[in-house]
């Protein structure tokens, strides 16, 4: 199964720029389906970004983050070829992780 995570990390000078897209419904729990039945909340709670095993960003999300979330940030350091690990866990305990190389 293809990963739910797409990440692009680019080292530029003294910092690394990171953009990530995660495939996730981010159901808020307030929306009804076509039969008028409330869709239960299902959203990512935490996304962790780690550079060579050290966290560089911890994102705590509520159901107000858009479907298929996008996030952009940057951290100091990081070199081409370093490993960036992205891990998410949602409120139903589902999880996915991806290791990417910094370009």
């Amino acid at each position: 199964m293809p990963s739910t995570i797409r990440v692009r990390a680019m080292a530029s000078g003294t910092q690394t720029d990171v953009q990530a897209l995660i495939q996730h419904p981010m159901d808020s729990g307030f929306v009804k389906d076509s039969n008028g039945v409330l869709i239960p909340p299902r959203h990512i709670e935490t996304v962790t970004f780690e550079h060579d095993g050290k966290p560089v960003l911890i994102a705590d999300w509520g159901p107000a983050v858009s479907k298929d979330p996008y996030i952009k940030f940057a951290f100091k350091g990081g070199a081409k070829g370093d490993t960036l690990t992205v891990t998410w866990i949602d409120n139903q305990g589902k999880t996915d992780s991806l290791e990417a190389k910094i370009a």
């Binding site: 107000a64 952009k72 100091k76």
Partner: protein, 159 residues
């Protein structure tokens, strides 16, 4: 129940049912807790007002600051995807949080920034209707905020 089995007294049956019910509830509560990511501020994400959410998350007041930049569209045609960018020139930033007071739950996202992470975050949020968007930056342990209003022409919560 099999007709030949010893009849259970009503008191015993009530007791058994009560215990089963308690076990059932404990089971549900246990599952809910287990499903929550460790460190995820459950309480803060369920607050319905700005003061309650800030209090649950930080437990201290914030002040407005022009050193916090909040980049949001003035008008969002689609409330399901509202781009939000927060940045600051303040030093030693440890957290950045984004709140939407008119949403069912006020707190939308909260970011922890370890040492070395630049204090600038971009993401996309859902907005139920026209609302202020508040970005709170924690710098040197103090809270600074920027607020901007976003007009939503089509709500993002299926309403």
């Amino acid at each position: 129940m099999h007709p030949t089995s010893a009849p259970m007294s009503n008191a015993t049956r009530r007791e058994t049912l009560r215990i089963l019910a308690l076990l059932g509830m404990a089971g549900i509560a246990g599952t809910a807790r287990a499903a929550s990511a460790p460190g995820w501020p459950d309480d803060a994400f369920h607050q319905k007002t700005m003061p309650d959410a800030v209090n649950a998350l930080y437990g201290k007041p914030f002040e407005a600051s022009d050193k916090v930049t909040l980049d949001v569209p003035e008008i969002a045609e689609n409330g399901a995807v509202v781009p939000v960018n927060v940045g600051t020139t303040l030093p030693n930033v440890t957290t950045i949080s984004i709140l939407v007071p008119e949403n069912p739950f006020t707190l939308a996202a909260s970011y922890k920034l370890p040492d070395g992470t630049l204090p600038a975050i971009g993401c996309r949020l859902k907005m139920a209707k026209t609302s202020d968007v508040v970005a709170i930056v924690e710098s040197d342990g103090k809270l600074f905020a920027a607020t901007k209003n976003v007009k939503v022409t089509l709500g993002g919560c299926g309403g």
